[in-house]
């Protein structure tokens, strides 16, 4: 069984209503696939959903500070510690603090969030490469909204 088969099996299970799949072959190969328990136990409520949800949201745990969350060992999301307006540069005509691809050091400014007329500099707590900027310049952002995807380097 190669990786391709596993991917197909994942897809199959995903689309089915089954919760678990376990395969063992005589060569000692063993595969267990299992869905999260909670997913279907609470049946989806009849509620309109505004916009798509990021999968990342499920991981929210930490409170009240700049949050970096591991997606796997190397990737993490930088989220907003406050509600406000996101700015990539210190002034409208200035260069952005970071671009996709920029490698940032601990303490480097990533962006500014304007909240109640104060400009709050958001700095990086990690060394890494900006993989993706998840919000637009000038966009209103809420608490804990993902701002950057960062790859540790």
């Amino acid at each position: 069984m190669d990786l391709r088969d596993v991917r197909d099996l994942i897809k199959l299970l995903d689309e089915s209503n089954l919760a678990k799949l376990e395969i063992e072959d005589p060569n000692g190969f063993k595969l267990i696939l299992e869905k999260e328990q909670s997913q279907a136990i609470t049946p989806k409520r009849p509620v309109p959903v505004r916009g798509a949800e990021s999968v990342l949201d499920d991981h929210k745990k930490l409170e009240d500070k700049i949050v970096a969350r591991d997606i796997d060992q190397e990737m993490m999301t930088i989220t907003s510690p406050m509600v406000g307006t996101f700015f990539r540069a210190p002034a409208p005509d200035a260069d952005p603090f970071v671009k996709e691809g920029t490698v940032v050091e601990v303490g480097d400014t990533l962006c500014i969030i304007e909240a109640m007329k104060l400009m709050n500099e958001i700095t990086s707590e990690f060394r890494g490469r900006i993989v993706k900027i998840l919000v637009e310049n000038g966009q209103p952002i809420e608490y804990n909204q993902p701002l950057f995807l960062l790859e540790r380097v």
Partner: protein, 449 residues
């Protein structure tokens, strides 16, 4: 009129406000903590901002994030609901300073009425009956004892900054008073960060009657009838009615006019509630003024036909009242049961968790205000009230029968609720006769516990 309103609250009251704003063609902005993402108030608002983690001090009390949400969403006005920041004068001021109309009275009036001793003094001067009490905060036990002797026992010691039953102690004798004084100060210090207490004559087993008023910004005020709020468990209201069996037309007029007089004297604007104690002789005394919409406002809506949230919004937008005192007509009888996620058998311990099955009562004369639904997980961080069941009937008897029927139909699976508790109340013969006071719940419903 405002184009967009931010609702600085959660759950049923946030949804309640969003509903009225929608009917007025006003856009709405919800705020929510990370624990409330699935609440209907978030789903039904035009926009929603997460303002913090579940802890309320970091979300629903997080003034910077709430104001930022108002700024980035381009809000005109902010409705605080009840609880959280609704009676926080500082918040009202920050709203104004940032150019948002706070839907409620001004910060100064709020601060004034929030200080119980000052509020009482003001009302007394305006000619509103108040309970004989120490004029300001007490300096020491001796002062308390002198005062108690003057008005006669029993007396009650209360926290000057208090509310919700905390920091209150009754003393029936001079011997009691020393203990009561010390305990009340300790509780006040712990709960309200201020050990200031004052003292009042204690009215035994009074009715708790409150008068709903509405004052515009042009000096016009009307009263919308009373609410009977005597049914309380540990100073928390459980069931409210309008009208009260103890209030006839003439008493209603007296209480209503006193309420308006007091509110105008305070410079009050918007919807407000004056709480009175009513004794068995028909004497009423000003207790305090709630400078916000009340949890139990729907009973007033059911008997007057008014939408109080719409009236609040219109007043805040500077409109003069659209009706005068003689246009206010009380029709029929309304009862509200507060449905809480609590386990009666475990001393009303909160029962947060997922609601598995949910069936609402329906049909004639039934209203339900709730932001939950089947599959919703009640978070453990906030108040246990998750639904208000309100019924209207042509008279009190019909309202009682209808409420019983509605409670029978109301099915909530997965968590314990106060529905069985309300059924007991609705079947109690004293309640049915209207023979109730603030001791009723303890005396007749919880006696077996």
């Amino acid at each position: 009129m405002f184009r967009k309103i931010l609702v600085a609250n959660r759950g049923e009251i946030a949804l309640r406000i969003i509903r009225s704003a929608k009917e007025m063609g006003i856009k709405t902005v919800a705020i929510y903590s990370e624990a409330d993402k699935e609440s209907l108030h978030v789903q039904f608002a035009d926009e929603a901002f997460c303002v913090g983690p579940p802890t309320q001090s970091k979300s629903y009390l997080n003034i910077p994030n709430i104001i930022s949400s108002a700024i980035v969403s381009g809000t005109d006005a902010i409705h605080p609901g009840y609880g959280f920041l609704a009676e926080n004068a500082e918040f009202a001021e920050v709203c104004s300073a940032n150019g948002f109309k706070f839907i409620g009275p001004t910060k100064d009036v709020m601060a004034l009425l929030g200080d119980k001793a000052k509020a009482k003094k003001l009302m007394k001067e305006a000619g509103v009956p108040v309970i004989p009490g120490s004029p300001s905060t007490l300096c020491n036990l001796k002062e308390a004892m002198n005062f108690a002797k003057e008005v006669g026992y029993p007396v009650i010691v209360k926290a000057a900054q208090g509310g919700g039953g905390r920091g209150m102690r009754v003393a029936k004798t001079e011997a009691d008073l020393k203990k009561a004084y010390d305990l009340a100060r300790t509780e006040a210090e712990a709960t309200f960060d201020s050990a200031e207490v004052y003292l009042e004559k204690y009215v035994e087993n009074p009715r708790h009657i409150e008068m709903q008023i509405l004052v515009d910004e042009h000096g016009n005020g009307i009263y919308l009838g009373e609410r009977e709020c005597s049914l309380q468990r540990r100073h928390q209201k459980v069931l409210e009615e309008s009208p009260s069996v103890a209030v006839d037309d003439s008493l209603r007029k007296k209480m209503g006019e006193a309420a308006i007089k007091g509110a105008l004297a305070a410079g009050y604007t918007n919807a407000g509630t004056i709480e009175f104690l009513l004794d068995r002789q028909g004497n009423f005394y000003f207790m305090e003024m709630n400078t916000r919409i009340q949890v139990e406002h729907p009973v007033t809506e059911m008997v007057t036909g008014l939408d109080l949230i719409k009236e609040q919004i219109k007043v805040a937008a500077g409109q003069p009242l659209s009706l005068q005192q003689e246009d206010v007509e009380i029709r029929g009888h309304a009862i509200e049961c507060r449905i809480n996620a609590e386990d009666l058998s475990k001393d009303f311990r909160p029962t947060p968790g997922p609601i598995q099955g949910f069936l609402l009562p329906g049909g004639t004369g039934i209203r339900v205000d709730t932001a939950v639904y089947a599959g919703y997980d009640i978070p453990p961080y906030y108040d246990s009230l998750f639904a208000k069941l309100i019924v209207w009937g042509n008279d009190r008897e019909e309202a009682i029968c209808r409420m019983r029927r509605a409670l029978d139909e109301f099915i909530v699976e997965g968590i314990s609720t106060t529905i069985p508790f309300h059924k007991k109340v609705l079947e109690n013969e004293h309640f049915i006769k209207g023979d109730i006071d603030t001791a009723f719940i303890a005396k007749h419903i919880l006696k077996d516990h």
